[in-house]
Amino acid sequence: MNNILVSARSLTKTYQNITALNNINLEIGSGKIVGLLGPNGSGKTTFIKLLCGLLQPTSGMLMVDGKSIGTHTKSVISYLPDRMFIADWFKACDLMEFFSDFYSDFDKNKAMEMMSALGIAPNDKIKTMSKGTKEKIQLAMIMSRQAKLYLLDEPIAGVDPAARDFILNTILTNYNEDGTVIISTHLISDIERVLDEAIFLQNGNIVRYDTVDNIREQEGKSVDQLFREIFAYGMQ
């Protein structure tokens, strides 16, 4: 499972005069859980948006599953944005129909199971659900796909610790084990235990990309501690 799933070559994204990503080179393999770590404004969301085709790179090359970003890569990427992206007039069953219409890797039974575990009936309207339930239902839809690449943008930001555990468990028990999960966050201590690899982003540059085991071995400290050190240094 060491074939390359994501590869970026001198990938750069600038907005007007702000450089969000600066000459990024990296390769991410299959079958891994990767943390995309960095403070706010470090380019995490920009990188994820480039991967799922919501942004176009200013220069450089980006490939997923051996193809440049397009219809094929979109069909193998399961993306959870940092906001509600479901039309609120949808019912839970409409949502499942929508996903199975557009994604051939969507497992409807799995989605049904997760919905009932959340206590959501097929005829419940999204509009009437609480914010937390909406977030969970989105995650359930995303994780019901057998995708090659899961992109989760800040899935645990702004939720209580119990919900955080639920989210992490949902991710761990449902992701396609041949696929890769990329989780962007600045809450490292909560997800450190599930990560295989960590990418540290700072001001649009990769300051470190390594396996979590290597970091622990070489530095003799946790990823969380390393994060605090790197970005504390960066602040001064």
Binding site: I86, W89, D101
Partner: protein, 292 residues
């Protein structure tokens, strides 16, 4: 994929418009009935002043008059609502459905941006036609209510003989009428599609701005309209000069030629506009998409 996109688009757009269609038809039926009943009272006018006076002082008569006025106002209100809602929903389906949070879902689907734009256009076009048909039906219902003999009018409207007379006369007067109708229908279709995609292109251009995107969309729309009317005026003036040079034809032929060339020219111009607006929208949403 385009069909699936249209399916969800129709669901979403009809959710707002079908209720107003039902309201328009229901209100026009009630208004037509109440108008028809008033006409029955009016028929008694011939019976003399005292009877007329008695009727006018009657409470029931007054209430019914009032009800008719209220229903007519309600009819006017639902017709305005139908028009406004159709326009608003079409704008909103593009803006909210693609350029706001829902865009995160739509632009990460394994479909091409042109398919998204086409599905929006098809559904918006079909729904505006439906709105048009519904308002025609409601006007017809109101006409039925205002005539003395609605059943007779209905029978005449659906009588094959009447239509064949109309078409025979039309054939004699304007032998080419079929061509004109066909050209006119094509013109209406392409020009309304061009108008629709002008709105889409304006919103896409507005999306390029960093902030005040709605305001910039409005500015873009006005700017495009001004450019178009400038070009249109220029071409119109040169067309007139061109016509003056054609001296060999008779006045009748000249008139027909003028009409024909005007329609065909308008169709071509609309197709060019439609293509340009489509390409502008598609390019911006493919290359310059930047959801907030």
């Amino acid at each position: 994929m385009l069909r699936k996109l249209c399916k969800y688009e129709f669901r979403s757009i009809s959710r707002t418009l079908i209720p107003i269609y039902i309201a328009v038809i229901a209100v026009s039926i009630i208004a037509a009935i109440s108008i028809a009943m008033n006409i029955d009272y009016a028929n008694i006018n011939y019976n003399g002043d005292s009877v007329q006076w008695a009727i006018e002082m009657n409470l029931q008569y007054k209430l019914q008059q009032m009800f008719t006025v209220v229903m007519s106002l309600a009819y006017f209100a639902v017709m305005v609502a139908l028009f406004v809602l159709t326009v608003v929903v079409i704008l909103q389906r593009f803006y909210k459905g693609l350029l706001c949070d829902e865009g995160y879902l739509m632009f990460t689907l394994p479909v091409k941006p042109w398919q998204l734009i086409t599905s929006k256009g098809i559904t918006a076009f079909v729904m505006s036609i439906l709105s048009g048909i519904v308002s025609c039906i409601s006007i017809f219902i109101m006409l039925l209510g205002s005539t003395k003999y609605p059943l007779q009018m209905l029978a005449e409207f659906f009588s094959f003989r009447n239509w064949s007379i109309i078409f025979t006369q039309l054939n004699n007067a304007v032998p080419m009428w079929g061509l004109y109708v066909l050209e006119f229908i094509i013109l209406v279709i392409v020009s309304s599609l061009a108008a629709l995609y002008q709105i889409y292109a304006s919103m896409a251009i507005g999306h390029l701005a960093k902030k005040n995107r709605i305001l910039m969309s409005v500015v873009a729309y006005i700017a495009i309209s001004m450019i178009l009317s400038f070009i249109g005026g220029f071409l119109g003036v040169s067309g007139i000069f061109l016509m003056e040079k054609v001296t060999y034809a008779s006045a009748m032929e000249l008139g027909e030629m003028f009409l024909q060339s005007l329609i065909i020219f308008s169709i071509i111009a609309s197709i060019i506009q439609l293509a340009a607006f489509f390409v502008i929208t598609e390019r911006i949403l493919s290359k310059k998409l930047n959801l907030e």
